[in-house]
Structures are given as structure tokens and as C-alpha cells.
């Protein structure tokens, strides 16, 4: 294979064309101004070149009008960059609701991927074209960054918290996956491939895999194995908040704050339960730090999320069975709100 000289990256996601459009606008404006300055410098340098050693040109007073013009016009153009860029950035940070969920754990120096249906991959990610994919990512050690140039998407992957990103592949193919945040010795080997597949091929890939059970089902097993269900139950014996329908809802904390129950909140509540206590409960939950891995945490998160889906959770049902108790019950025990 002879040397190739690519000059522009492939466009393989719905976002790629939108990013490139803004990029070309920036290129056009910048090209114009760079050419203008270069031209003026060259023209002045030639036209007003020193013709004799004693030459002494008249002074030129500055002009406020010109100064204002070349401040305001660039500012107006810059603001157009800003608004266009911000609009795009918002779109990049707002995944569609029906996005396919994929969970990513980065560690020195590999990418571990879990699909909602239970498939696992290392340094590979298979996705269907035409369907939004939402990544929930965390790291086991240092900061990494999930970067797919063909999709124009990039997001840091941090230890100790979840970051999310999304894309919708638009063209089948195999695309580079890079770690873009320097992470140590084999940083440049923390690479892989994203395979964007036609939906039918993707289905075939899904069924051909060795997936044992869905992520939520694996999470449900963990939920029982760690006996979470003895406290987190929908009936009156519950000593912890009921998790059914919790995800994405507003939570009232004992210190008066409220927050939305998202992935990071669930993760934090498992690892450092006393950081945020739900109104009406005691800080009695032990930490599970060191007992569950990042990947298992993601399974638990997937399970809790599944409890809020309209369809019942796949896999084993919560041990407590029927969950028809109204939430009023849980507020009933006399709150002893002194701890955190």
C-alpha cells in the first residue's frame, strides 16, 4: 500500500456534517481575515518600501472610527461562532430519549464495553447505524477520553464519576476509537474500533454473541447477592428508599436539598451512602466500596434504571414481589433527622 494523504476525516455520524459545516464557516471567515492581513502587509511593505535612507514619512493619527470598526465587526462575527457552536454543543450533550444504552469502563490501557443486552467487548464497540447510542462512561484509574473522530465526538472518562456522550452512526464502517486524554505509558495503545453496522447485521451480531443475560438482569442478581433487596423494598418493611420508578425523578434529601436521581447519584449512593440521605430515612446503609467493581456498578445502575422503564425489568423480579404500596408509607416512620 502506497502512502496516502488524507486531508479530511470521514463523516460517519449525524453530528459529523453539522460540526463540519461550522468548521467550514470558521475556515472561510479565518481564511478571509488571514488573507486580508497578509495582503495588506505585503502591499504596504512593497508600496511604502524605504526608497532613501533619509526618507521621513508624515505621521498618521490613529482613527477611533477605524478602531471601533475593527473591534465591533470581529466581535459580531465571533458571536456568530459562539451561538452556532453553543447550539451544537447543547445538541451534543442532549442524547435522545430512545437512545441505545452502552456502558464503557476505561482502564490503563483498554476500553471495556457492556451492552444493555449483556454483550461485552474490549477495545471494540458494535453499534447499529440510524440509532442514537448513549454512552455512560467511567474509569477505573486515571482520566481517559473516548474519542471517535469519524463521529466528531469526544468526552473525558473520569474515575469516580460518570460522564455521558452520545452519537448516531450514519454510515456503516469501521472507525478509529482513540483515547484522547494522556493516561500513561501505553496511552497511544489505548485504541480500538467502532463498528457501525446495518440494523440487520447488528441484530445478527447481537444474537451471535455469547451474551448470557442482559445488563439489568445481571444487576438484579447483584442486587440480591448483596442483599440490597432486604432494605430497598416497596413494602412497609423498607428501611431504604424504594427504587422502583426512582430513576430520573426528583429526590428530596434530609438536608432539604433536592436532586434528580441520575446515574452518578445511584453510583454515589452505593459507594458513599451517607453523602446524601433521602428525606425520612436513617443513614444506616454500609458502603459497598471495594465490594463491587466499576462494571458491576454499571450493571446495578442499569438494573435501577430498568425499574423505571414502562416494561417490567427483565430477569428475576425483585424478591419482595408485588410493589403496589403507595409511597406514603415510607414517609410514615418518625423521621429522626439528625445525622447526615
Amino acid at each position: 500500500m502506497g502512502p496516502t494523504l488524507p486531508l479530511f476525516p470521514e463523516q460517519a455520524s449525524t453530528m459529523a456534517g453539522r460540526v463540519d459545516a461550522l468548521y467550514f464557516y470558521l475556515l472561510a471567515v479565518s481564511g478571509f481575515f488571514a488573507a486580508l492581513i497578509a495582503l495588506l502587509v505585503i502591499v504596504f511593505a512593497i508600496k511604502y518600501r524605504r526608497r532613501s535612507e533619509t526618507e521621513l514619512p508624515r505621521g498618521v493619527e490613529g482613527s477611533l472610527k477605524l478602531e471601533v470598526a475593527w473591534s465591533v465587526i470581529p466581535l459580531a462575527i465571533a458571536l456568530s461562532f459562539f451561538f452556532w457552536g453553543a447550539k451544537l454543543f447543547f445538541a451534543m450533550n442532549r442524547p435522545p430519549n430512545d437512545a441505545l444504552e452502552v456502558y464503557v469502563v476505561g482502564k490503563q490501557w483498554m476500553w471495556k464495553v457492556q451492552h444493555a443486552d449483556g454483550q461485552r467487548e474490549i477495545n471494540e464497540l458494535h453499534v447499529p447505524v440510524g440509532r442514537a447510542v448513549r454512552l455512560t462512561m467511567t474509569s477505573e484509574d486515571v482520566i481517559h477520553d473516548f474519542f471517535v473522530p469519524a463521529f466528531r465526538m469526544k468526552k473525558d472518562v473520569l474515575p469516580g464519576r460518570y460522564t455521558t456522550a452520545w452519537f448516531e452512526a450514519s454510515k456503516p464502517g469501521r472507525y478509529h476509537l482513540f483515547c484522547a486524554q494522556y493516561c500513561g505509558t501505553k496511552h497511544s495503545a489505548m485504541i480500538g474500533w467502532v463498528h457501525a453496522m446495518e440494523p440487520a447485521d447488528y441484530q445478527a451480531w447481537l444474537s451471535g454473541g455469547v451474551a448470557s443475560e442482559s445488563l439489568a438482569a445481571a444487576g438484579a442478581k447483584l442486587f440480591q447477592r448483596h442483599a440490597c433487596n432486604t432494605c430497598h423494598r416497596p413494602d412497609s418493611l423498607a428501611r431504604g428508599p424504594n427504587l422502583e420508578g426512582l430513576f430520573g425523578k426528583m429526590v428530596q434529601l434530609s438536608d432539604g436539598r433536592t436532586l434528580i436521581a441520575d446515574e452518578s447519584y445511584i453510583r454515589e449512593s452505593i459507594l458513599t451512602p451517607n453523602a446524601k440521605i433521602v428525606m425520612g430515612f436513617q443513614p444506616i446503609m454500609p458502603t459497598f466500596q471495594g465490594l463491587v467493581s466499576e462494571e458491576e456498578l454499571l450493571q446495578l445502575v442499569a438494573y435501577v434504571k430498568s425499574l423505571s422503564k414502562p416494561s417490567p425489568a427483565p430477569g428475576p423480579a425483585p424478591a419482595t414481589g408485588v410493589s403496589s404500596m403507595p409511597p406514603v408509607h415510607r414517609a410514615a416512620p418518625p423521621p429522626k433527622e439528625k445525622g447526615k
Binding site: F44, R49, R50, P57, G85, F89, D141, K154
Partner: protein, 544 residues
């Protein structure tokens, strides 16, 4: 005072700051700002070539896609040490500590800086910091990147993080003391008649730079101290495994390190203002606007650090605020470019070497500044962040801008500093080589970056090779372009023709005294009676 006519005669040998006293002690214990400037010149030149050597090895490794010349670990140390050495030990002190030190007292008509002993102490502190860093280089190096991101730097890396951090911490105090010295000097030691709006723009830009030295450097000192403490005592400031926040480090680090970019570029802007006026024989277009512009760049520069963190997980709204503020800081920079260009309008433009560097600066800084807009644009930043696009962008600012300004300044004031003329033909040739080599090195990196090649990659996919080969070829040309001036400048110290007091016919006060100047700078205390850059006494023309 319209000194358009050259003084014809080469000078008689006489007493000046270079030959006033002899012996190593007279240099190492000097309190003369000009000699201290030369001490800095020697030290930063050493670091420039050391950093350049690391760059050369980086470029050689990247000649092929496989990681074959050095091991990954070595490669990571090379780019880390390249960044640390070039930024903390070359670029930050370069123009301020050499040209600023030498020129500020002369430009304002003073005998010396306000605190000559403190000035010498700054250099010693710099040297002590430099020794720690060199010790780290020799004892295995450091591999965290010059950005020291946590938790890699605090928890994982097995390299000389602590020694390097200590070196940077110590050297920071040298910056703080220099900044303090400049601020007090500019406030209190101006000659009679030297009002604030008669100060040369070189002095204004150093005033702005000094503000950043004094206000920003303590933050990086605290930050590296926190890294040090975290590494030794495992306090849990930054490491999430210990309950810390890795993003906090990035906020603290960039709170200094973004303004540090302006520490590197503002003094170069000051040099360009002096060079463009002298070699156009014209007053600067929009003097006050130019002065306000450097101050507003320094102030706004403190408010944009979060634009390094758009994909870090920082909130979307914080990203928006940092994005718009970054566009604001671009405006005064654009205004400066327009004003330099307008200064050439109807001038008498000479193509001496310093002016060639100024042409180069204006072109390259414009490209560097414009590509900064790409990075400030949120939706585009996501794609190009941490790729070669950003490497290209900041090298256009720091090498195309700051180093072109530095070299232009060194040539411009070389007759004053050394009392000798440099060989013009060689110098023009070298300026051309630098310009061509620079563009060949860094322009392909913009393309590489948009293609998606991440920075800090020891090995890369084969389709990126052609552009990398171009970049490496350019780097070798650029390297030659830096070695040529090194040779002829040293040569000129011994064999160069004696320089007249004012070889360029400039109006600056520093040209009113002999070349090289006496230890006390001026035989007679100067008095400033008119505006700076007043070349023509004819009535000025109104444009626009």
C-alpha cells in the same frame, strides 16, 4: 530628536557596562540589570536548545507510525520534558527576563530596576529551580505531560514528579519577583516627562505581563504544592479514590496556565510594536488603544481558563460562559494586528531582519489567533480538543508568535546589547529559514488534528504518516534556522562591526545612549519631552 540620520562613525573603545569590571565575580554578583539580562540570556539559551533537542527526538520518533525509535515510556518523558523546559524555563522568562530586564530601565530613562538585588535574586532562584528540573531529567525524567493532570500525576506515575514540581514551584518565585520589580520600577522610576501615555508599548506590555506574574504565578505554586502533598501524604485532594476531585486540579492548573500563555505572547507583542514603528519610521497607529489592549488581554486572560475543559465533564453552562469570554479576549488581539498593519500604511518600510521577524510574527500570530477561535467554538472544540490541531494552534502562538518576537527583539537590540552589528545577510537568510521551517512543521499538524490524530501518541495509524513526515522535515529546517543565529551572533560579539548608538534611527530612549550603554545607562539623566514614536514633526495626517 527625529533621529533619521545615522551616526556615521564607529565608536572609540570606552567604558561601558560590559567592560566596566572584569572577572566572574563581577558577573555573578552584579546588580546591573543589563548584566543580569545577559545571565538570563545565557541560561535560557541553554534551555531553549535542550527543549529543542527533546523536540527533535519527538519529531524523529513520529517519522514512522510504529513506535520504533524510542520506547513509549521514553517518548512520554520526551514530550513532557519538552513542554516543561520550553514553557517554564525558556518561554516564560524569555522576553521579560532578557529584553525586559535590559530595556525597561533604559526605555523609561532610569539607571536600573527599582530593586537591583532582588533582580539578581530572581536569577538565582531561577537557576535553583532549573537545577531541580535538570536533576529530574537526569534521574529518569517525568512522564505526566507538562500539564500534570491528576490522578495520573499524583497516584500512578512512577517518574520524577516531585522533583519537577519542586523545580517549577521554585522558579515561579523568580517570575513573581521579576514582575514585582517591573511594576515598582514602571510606577516609580520614570524619567521627568515620561508620563504613562508616553511609555513605549514594550513597557506597557511588560506592565501587563508583570500583573500576570504577580497575580497568577502564586496559583501555580499552590497547585504544584498540592500535587506534591497529595503524592507524599495521600491527602485526597485530587484523587477520587481518596475522595478528591480530579477536575479541581484542572481548574487550578489552567487558572495560571492560561494566563501564562499571555505571559509568553504579550512581551512579544511589545517587541513587535517597537520594531514595526522603527522600521516604518512611523508613529504607532492607535497608541492608546494598543496600551489598553494589552491590559485588557491580561485581565480577560484570567477569565477563560475553563476553555481547556470543554470535554472534561464540566457543566454545559460553564462551557458556554468560558466560550464567550474566550471570544472576548480575541478582540483586543485582533485590534493589535490591525493596528500594526495600519502603522505600516504610508510608512518608510525597511526590510532589516527585525522587520522580517515582525512580518512573520503578524502572519503567524494571525493564524494562531484565528485557529484559537476554532477552539473557543464549543461544537468544534469537542472534535479538535487534545488533537494535533491544538498542538499546531499553540505552537503558532508560542513559536510563531513568542519566539519570532523574541528573535526579532534580539536582533533589533543586539547592537545595543553587544555594541556590535550582526551580519545582515545571514540574519535575513536565517529569518527566512525559520519562517519556512516553522510553517512546514506546524501547518500539517492542523490537518492531522482535524483528521483526529490525538496528541501525545507514541505510535499512530499509518494513514497519518505523510503529514507527519512533512512536519518532521519542517522541524529539521526550523532547527537549522535556530542554529544559524546562534552562530553569527556569537561570532559578531568578537568580529562584528562596532554599532553606533542608534543604528536604526529609532526614537526610543534606549537608543539615545551609547552602544553598549554605560553601567548607569545614561551620561545625562534623560528628560522626555514628547510622545513616543514621534518620527515626523510635520502635521499628522488624519485617516478614516
Amino acid at each position: 530628536m527625529s533621529a533619521a540620520v545615522h551616526e556615521p562613525e564607529p565608536q572609540e573603545p570606552r567604558v561601558n557596562y560590559l567592560n566596566a569590571t572584569y572577572g566572574i565575580r563581577s558577573w555573578l554578583l552584579t546588580r546591573d540589570h543589563k548584566r543580569i539580562a545577559l545571565l538570563y540570556l545565557a541560561s535560557i539559551t541553554f534551555f531553549f536548545f535542550l527543549g529543542g533537542f527533546f523536540a527533535l527526538l519527538i519529531r524523529l520518533e513520529l517519522l514512522t507510525p510504529q513506535g520504533d525509535l524510542v520506547q513509549a515510556e521514553t517518548y512520554n518523558k520526551l514530550f513532557t520534558m519538552h513542554g516543561v523546559v520550553m514553557i517554564f524555563f525558556f518561554l516564560i522568562p524569555s522576553i521579560p527576563a532578557v529584553l525586559g530586564n535590559f530595556l525597561i530601565p533604559m526605555m523609561i530613562g532610569a539607571k536600573d530596576l527599582a530593586f537591583p538585588r532582588l533582580n539578581l535574586l530572581s536569577w538565582y532562584i531561577y537557576i535553583v529551580g532549573a537545577f531541580f528540573t535538570l536533576w529530574a531529567v537526569v534521574h529518569g525524567g517525568v512522564d505526566t505531560g507538562w500539564t500534570f493532570y491528576t490522578p495520573y500525576s499524583t497516584a500512578t506515575s512512577n517518574s520524577q514528579v516531585i522533583t519537577t514540581a519542586v523545580g517549577i514551584f521554585i522558579t515561579g518565585f523568580s517570575s513573581i519577583l521579576t514582575g514585582l520589580n517591573f511594576i515598582v520600577t514602571i510606577h516609580t522610576m520614570r524619567a521627568p516627562g515620561m508620563t504613562w501615555f508616553r511609555l513605549p508599548l514594550f513597557v506597557w506590555s511588560h506592565y501587563a505581563t508583570s500583573l500576570i506574574f504577580v497575580l497568577g504565578t502564586p496559583v501555580i505554586a499552590v497547585t504544584v504544592l498540592m500535587v506534591f502533598v497529595e503524592r507524599v501524604l495521600h491527602l485526597g485532594l485530587f484523587d477520587p479514590a481518596l475522595g478528591g476531585d480530579p477536575i479541581l486540579f484542572q481548574h487550578l492548573f489552567w487558572f495560571y496556565s492560561h494566563p501564562a500563555v499571555y505571559i509568553m505572547i504579550l512581551p512579544a507583542m511589545g517587541v513587535i510594536s517597537e520594531v514595526v514603528t522603527t522600521f516604518s519610521r512611523k508613529n504607532i497607529f492607535g497608541y492608546r488603544i494598543m496600551a489598553y489592549a494589552v491590559i485588557s488581554i491580561a485581565v480577560l486572560g484570567f477569565l477563560v481558563w475553563g476553555h481547556h475543559m470543554f470535554v472534561s465533564g464540566q457543566s454545559v453552562y460553564a462551557g458556554m460562559i468560558f466560550s464567550i469570554l474566550s471570544f472576548f479576549v480575541a478582540i483586543p488581539s485582533a485590534v493589535k494586528v490591525f493596528n500594526w498593519t495600519a502603522t505600516m500604511y504610508k510608512g518608510s518600510i525597511s526590510y532589516r531582519t527585525p522587520m522580517l521577524y515582525a512580518f512573520g510574527f503578524i502572519g503567524l500570530f494571525t493564524i494562531g489567533g484565528l485557529t484559537g477561535l476554532f477552539l473557543a467554538t464549543l461544537g468544534v472544540n469537542v472534535h479538535v480538543h487534545d488533537t494535533y490541531f491544538i498542538i499546531a494552534h499553540f505552537h503558532y502562538i508560542m513559536v510563531g508568535g513568542a519566539i519570532m518576537g523574541y528573535l526579532g527583539g534580539i536582533h533589533y537590540w543586539w547592537p545595543k546589547i553587544s555594541g556590535k552589528l550582526y551580519p545582515e545577510a545571514w540574519a535575513r537568510f536565517a529569518a527566512l529559514v525559520v519562517f519556512i521551517g516553522f510553517n512546514l512543521t506546524f501547518f500539517p499538524q492542523f490537518i492531522l488534528g482535524y483528521l483526529g490524530m490525538p496528541r501525545r501518541y507514541h505510535a499512530y495509524p499509518p494513514e497519518f504518516q505523510v503529514l507527519n513526515v512533512m512536519s518532521t522535515a519542517g522541524a529539521s529546517i526550523l532547527g537549522a534556522g535556530y542554529i544559524i543565529p546562534m552562530i553569527y551572533l556569537v561570532w559578531s560579539m568578537r568580529y562584528g562591526r562596532n554599532a553606533p548608538a542608534n543604528p536604526w534611527g529609532s526614537t526610543g530612549l534606549e537608543w539615545k545612549t551609547t552602544s553598549p550603554p554605560p553601567t548607569d545607562n545614561f551620561a545625562e539623566p534623560p528628560v522626555m519631552t514628547e510622545d513616543p514614536y514621534l518620527y515626523s514633526r510635520e502635521e499628522v495626517e488624519i485617516v478614516g
